[in-house]
Structure formats: C-alpha cells, structure tokens
Amino acid sequence: MEILKLEHVKKNFGGLPVIQDLSFSVSESSVFGLIGKNGAGKTTTMKMLLGFLKSDAGEIKVCGEKVAYGDTRTNRHVGYLPDVPEFYSYMTPVEYLRLCGEISGQKPRPIRKKTEELLALVGLENSNRKISGFSRGMKQRLGIAQALMNEPRLLICDEPTSALDPVGRKEILDILSIAGKQTAILISTHILSDVERLCDHIGILDDGKLVLQGKLSDIKNSYRHSFLRIALADQDSVAVLAGKLANLPFVSAVEAKENSLTVRLEDMATEGLKILELLLREQVFVLKYEVLEPSLEDVFLEVIQ
C-alpha cells in the first residue's frame, strides 16, 4: 500500500517555480531518499506534505487521505523531524514526550511506557535535565523520539544528519535504520553516503523536478556501465596506452593519473573484453584491472548536469 502519494504537485514562490510537476510515492516499509542540492525544493516539498505550505496544483495523499492546507487531519499518521528541531527549552525530555503523547490523544500509562522505550532507543534515558542544556546531536535524537511518539505510519525527516558531527551522524543513522523496520520513512538529504546506508528507494530532485527515481539497487545497476581502472607497473607506458585507448571508438573518456588510467565505457561486458585484448596486444604489465562500482555521487552528478 502507498503511504504517501504526490501527483503533479507544483509550487511557485512569487512567480519563481520551486516545484514543477512533482510526482512520486512511498510504499509501506520502504525508506525513500529525496536527494537534491541546497535549494532544490526538498524542504518546500516536506512542508507541503505537512500542510504548512499550500501547493499551487496537484494532489498529496497520506494513507489515502488528502492533505489540506492549514489544519490537516493527515498529520496524525505522520511523524516529523525538522532539519533543526526546536523544543521548549524549559522542559525535560520526559515532559516533552508526555506533551507529544497527550496531543496525539494517548492515555497516561501508554505514554509513560512509550516514553521509556523511545528514550532508551535514542540513548537519552539518563538525561533528565532541561532541554536547554542539550547538544545539537541530543536534540536531533530527541527529535526522532518525538516523531515516533504517535506510532506514525510515515516518518518525515528533513536533513536529519546535515548539522551533526560524524559520531552524531552515525547515531542518527543507526536509530533511523531501526525505526525504518516499523514505519515508512521519507528522508531528504544531500549527504549521499547516508542515502546509500539507509534508503531502498531514491528520487533525485533538481530544479523542482524529479530527474531520476526508482529502487536504489536498480539505479546503481543501470549506471554500472561507467568506469574501468587499469593500474600499470611502468609509468612511462601510461601515456602511450592512454593515447591508444582514446582512439578506440567506444571509449568516451580516458583520464591518466600517475600510474593508473580511468576509462569510461558504455557497456562493460563487451567493451571490457576489447580493452583486455588491447592490453595483451600491447604487452603491458598490468598491476590491477578493476571495474569501478558506480557511487551514488557519480549518478547524482550525472543526472543533475
């Protein structure tokens, strides 16, 4: 079942189109990564999902219900972690989670139980002091705890790791991957290694459009054509070989660096063989022959060009 569905959503800010015809969906128990540069429209999209911004056209549905601008009933299915979550600094985490539980209409006993569970999950069980003394990482962890308080079917995280140090980032990613087992997650980010760790589906947002979307593994497979690295023992023959490789019709680019060459191909299976033939013919001493895994970064940079 589709937890979230966007159809032909558009949004302009003073004549400037920020989102142009955006359509995608997030299904149950999947982790969808919305990737884009700063200013690509990620936060705008999330605010529209929550009814905080009015979309100019199109339809957004959460659990089959239409999202309305202003007060929207669909938010009861949603847990939201803003990019920089702001809490009432005079409260303790337990008090804050109680407030969240009461707002979503839970009874005192389940609230206490849930609070204990979630604080243990995010590693804040022993910090019973006021939120004003919290570090950014701790606030982010509390942010996840509050987002999960109402047992949402969709967790929306807006750049959850971008303001954190490496340790804090790892902690948040670990918590999110646990949370992802129980709920669908929509995560926006520009940190691609986070996406590779967490997401199973991605959408790349550029200039208000999704330029690429699908299963992460499919996308990586379809971009597998790309790169071959050949390391040679003899540095002098690098330049000679680079020239010969560049002359091959199917090679679209060759880059020489110290004793290695990076060759760009379209079809690794057949063209790779021809490269091997060339290496044999030239009688060069090859240290390493490696098909490079396309990183998400390559894919990203390629599609937003």
């Binding site: 605010k47 929550l50 905080f52 911004l53 009015k54 601008y69 202003g70 007060d71 009933r73 938010n75 009861r76 949603v78 847990g79 939201y80 803003p82 920089v84 979550p85 702001e86 809490f87 009432y88 005079y90 409260m91 008090e95 407030l99 969240c100 009461e102 707002i103 979503s104 209409g105 942010g143 509050q146 987002a147 308080m149 109402n150 929306i156």
Partner: protein, 254 residues
C-alpha cells in the same frame, strides 16, 4: 480537545518556568499594596516639601483617593506589564519554530489560539484578583471600613479591559510577523481607540472607558448604564478578536 488540554497545561508550565507568573503576580500585588499607602502618605510627603516658605496644604485623603491611585497604577503600569509579559507568547513560537513539531502531530491551530488566550487570561485574572483583594484589605486597614457604590463593577471593568487587551494582542500577533510586530499593532489599535474616545458620540462603545472611567463610576452612579453597554461591547469584541485570530492563524504560513 486532547490538544487543547495538553497545550494549556504546557502554557501554565511555561508561565511558571519562564517566570511570567512570578512577574505578573508580584508586580500587580505590589500595586495593590502600594496604592492605598501612597494615597495615605501623600499629604505627609507634600508637607516635607517646603518650597521657599510656601507650604502646601492638602485635604485629608479619602478612600476615593486610595482607589484613584489603584486604578491609575493598574490602568497604566499594570496594563503595560501585561502587554510586555504576554507579548511574545505566540510570535516567539512562530519565529522559533517550536510549534511546527506539535502541529505536525495533529494539534489543531484553533487549540493553540484558545490555549494561549485561556492561559494568559487565567494568569491575568489570578494576579488581578490578588491585587484587588490586597488593595481592599490595606484600604480598610488605613482608612477604616467603607462602602462605595459599584466598586465591584468598576474593578470588573478594568479586568475586562485587560481581557480585551489580551485578545487584541493575540489577533495582532497572528496578523503581524516578528517578535514585536504584534506589540506594535496593539499599541496602534490602542492609540486609535484613545483618539476615538475624544468624540463623545463613540465613548459609550469604546472599551477604553473600561480603564479610564473607573473612578467616575464610583462617584456618579448615573454612568452605570453607559458603562454596562461598554462592557458588553468589549465582550463582543473579545469574541470577535478570538474568532478572527483562529481564522487568520489557520491559514498562516509556518
């Protein structure tokens, strides 16, 4: 309903932890205590001032003077304190973004407005009643027991004006942006009302009378009828302000 109760509880906690409650209660309490004392001591204070052989003689202060002091302090400094204490209750949450998480939990925006009004009204009421009781006690202690016509109604009028001010402030905060936009807009509205009060035709309908004619009410029983019209007008305006606040806030971009 869950949201309204939970959010109102949060408002009370905020009043206590951010010292809003302490400030309101203690400042108004001080006014209640000081006013009769100041009225009683005024002739003695002036007696000390002998300016170049001129001695100022003042009539013996009365209960009316004591209440004159109380209404003057409350309607000026008291209401300013009220505005300053409650100025940021809504705007700060919008600018800092603390509301975003709770609204994303399904808290309704009308509950936010109603909770804010209810909690601030209750704090105003508690501080005001405490001040009025203290004032009454001290007046009896210093001037002996007394009876003034319409004293309760006159006190009620000033309280109602405070309630009106809070509603205007809330509406102004939903309309204006920034931490001081609401305060500025409220000040502008009050200026307009004060200017309008110059014209006798509109005086009857102008809530400003609730905070300026309290002493007249104690001495001249004939103004009672006019004042009750003013009170009903103020009540109507409060309801109107709240409804408008909700309508505006529901469509506010966050």
């Amino acid at each position: 309903m869950n949201g309204l109760i939970a959010f109102t509880k949060k408002e009370f906690l905020e009043q206590i932890r951010s010292y809003k409650a302490v400030i309101m209660v203690s400042v108004l309490f001080l006014f209640g205590m000081m006013s009769p004392l100041l009225a009683k001591m005024m002739p003695d204070i002036f007696a000390q001032l002998t300016v170049q052989g001129i001695s100022i003689s003042m009539p013996e202060p009365t209960v009316l003077d004591a209440y004159g002091q109380f209404f003057k302090n409350m309607s000026q400094m008291g209401l300013i304190v009220l505005l300053l204490v409650f100025n940021v209750i809504l705007s700060q949450e919008v600018t800092r973004g603390t509301l975003v998480i709770l609204l994303a939990k399904g808290l309704s925006r009308s509950a936010v407005i109603m909770s804010k009004y209810l909690a601030s009204l209750i704090l105003w009421t508690v501080s005001y009643v405490l001040a009025a009781i203290t004032d009454y006690g001290y007046t009896v202690y210093l001037f002996g027991s007394f009876s003034l016509p319409h004293l309760f109604f006159s006190l009620f009028c000033l309280w109602l004006f405070g309630a009106f001010l809070l509603a205007v402030l809330l509406l102004a905060s939903t309309l204006a942006s920034g931490n001081y936009g609401g305060l500025l807009l409220t000040a502008a509205v009050m200026m307009l009302l004060l200017i309008a009060n110059v014209f006798p035709v509109s005086q009857k309908w102008n809530p400003v009378a609730l905070a300026s004619d309290n002493i007249t009410l104690l001495t001249n029983a004939e103004t009672f009828g006019d004042m009750s019209v003013t009170a009903w007008t103020a009540l109507l305006l409060i309801v109107l302000c709240l409804i408008l606040s909700i309508i505006v806030f529901r469509k506010k971009k966050l």
